[in-house]
């Protein structure tokens, strides 16, 4: 009986997570277009629903009813595989993410995470690395110049940012003496990691921008110079998969930044429910992502590689050394 309850709870949590992750891109696209519009003194979507609130729904219906086109010269298997490969890892990663300690519903304690892995951080980085294959395969399989250029850029980009990103969190792991995200948050109950690890945060956030393929590092898409980059040839629901994946990763990087450097659900000054604190912090970083997108120009990909290898990597190494000397 207990086993069934436990299993049912896990299934419910997973279904709830998937539903949230699939539905969240709707308000996020609306927000992004609204913020973009107002930053450029426009209004953004205004016609569908109140201030364009139903615009994402209309876009979703449009994408679902559009022709699902596969180019004649495309590698059909890889072409179909790529959107799934891009979509699944960001969803899988959320299994390891804690959203809070626990809440009691009807007298039973329900933990706000699907699993408390002791190597959660490693799991996150390992799984999220697979997402890049979706981008690379998608561009390669389409057999189009723009798409393959986007994929090439992603390959170059991936190597440059994944290593500093991995190094940047080592300082956090040293401070918490654990790779479990739950333990990392508990270790920040008194003082957030951002105080000890400003450099680590900087490196992680810049690498996270590259991970999410957002401006200033959206080289794989680069509407300006590559059409739409790796998803040039994608249409309909397959294109929507790539978009959902992009927003899920934006969310994931924001969540990771909050958990690793900004104290997770630990609040300061104002006593709010922990879950609300967490949501507010994540919302702020999602906003920062959108804000950056409409402020900064795009780096060239040799510049991105220079930043990755010549700035971020030495910085993250120095961060590890200094953290090691000072705290261990």
């Amino acid at each position: 009986m207990e086993l069934i309850v436990a299993l049912g709870l896990i299934v419910f949590k997973v279904a709830f997570l998937i539903a949230i992750l699939l539905l969240l891109p709707l308000p996020l696209t609306w927000l992004e277009r609204k913020i973009a519009g107002h930053m450029q003194q426009r209004m953004g979507p205004m016609r569908v629903g109140w201030h364009g609130l139903l615009q994402p729904v209309a876009d979703g219906i449009k994408l679902l009813t559009k022709e699902d086109h596969i180019p004649a010269e495309a590698d059909r298997f890889l072409f179909k595989l790529a959107p799934i490969l891009a979509l699944a890892p960001p969803f899988v990663v959320f299994v390891a993410i804690p959203f809070g300690e626990s809440v009691s519903v009807l007298g039973t304690e329900i933990t706000l995470y699907v699993s408390n892995m002791n190597v959660a951080l490693l799991f996150v980085f390992a799984v999220i690395g697979i997402e890049v294959y979706g981008v690379i395969f998608g561009g390669w399989a389409a057999n189009s110049k723009y798409a393959v250029l986007g994929s090439l850029r992603t390959c170059a980009q991936m190597i440059s940012y994944e290593i500093p990103m991995g190094f940047a969190v080592i300082g956090v792991v040293m401070l918490a003496q654990s790779m479990s995200l739950l333990e990392i948050v508990r270790a920040q109950a008194d003082l957030w990691n951002i105080v000890y690890q400003p450099v680590g945060f900087f490196v992680f956030f810049v690498a996270g921008l590259a991970e999410a393929q957002r401006i200033p590092f959206d080289l794989a898409e680069a509407e300006g110079d590559l059409g739409a980059g790796f998803h040039t040839e994608y249409s309909g629901i397959r294109f929507a998969f790539f978009m959902i994946s992009e927003y899920a990763i934006v969310l994931l990087v924001s969540v990771l930044v909050v958990i690793l450097f900004f104290g997770g659900w630990n609040g300061v000054l104002i006593p709010l429910p922990p879950l609300l604190w967490f949501a507010l912090k994540v919302a702020f970083f999602v906003y920062v992502f959108i804000w950056f997108r409409f402020t900064f120009p795009r780096y060239r990909y040799d510049q991105l590689m220079a930043i990755g290898w010549k700035v971020l990597l030495p910085l993250s190494m120095a961060n590890i050394i200094i953290t090691g000397i000072a705290f261990v």
Binding site: I35, G37, H38, M39, Q40, Q41, R42, M43, M46, W291, F292, F294, T295, F296
Partner: protein
Amino acid sequence: MSRARDTIGTWIGWAFFADLANGLALTFGYMFSKPVTMQYPDQEKWLPYPRYRGHHFLKRDEEGEIKCVACELCARICPCDCIEVVPYEDEKGNRRPAKFEIDTARCLFCGLCEDACPADAIALGQQYEFSSFSSADLVIGRDDLLAKPGKAATGGGVVAARLNTKKDVLVETKETQGYNWWRNIRRT
């Protein structure tokens, strides 16, 4: 000394991304600025300047008689040959147009007909909202031209796009129907 300090200040600013922060502050400020968008069919629209050349109109004299004497000079000077005038003699013995048609689909709104007219009977007015799905509808006859709005008294402003105006658009109009109502609307 001060130059050296400026250089150091620049370097410190560069190290802490002062320029990026400036850019972020700028876009953040713009996010709360008023959009410049004119929500054209819903709320407001641009009122053209007085010298704007829009839809043609035919004038009447003091007695309400059509001014046109059907000399066909406008039809002659028209570079796109879009005016067709057929004269007749009315009961007072004056030469008047029986048929005066302008094919606005072909018209290039140069205003030469206005310059050529000896009777000051035709001019290009203010109206610009006359798009149509059929080019046949764009052939405007004499009576329609007489009813079209004339020159703008003032212009170059924002007016209500429809009569159900929102709060900051003031409507001062004598007639709320017909082609002329919107000439009198001013934004407060």
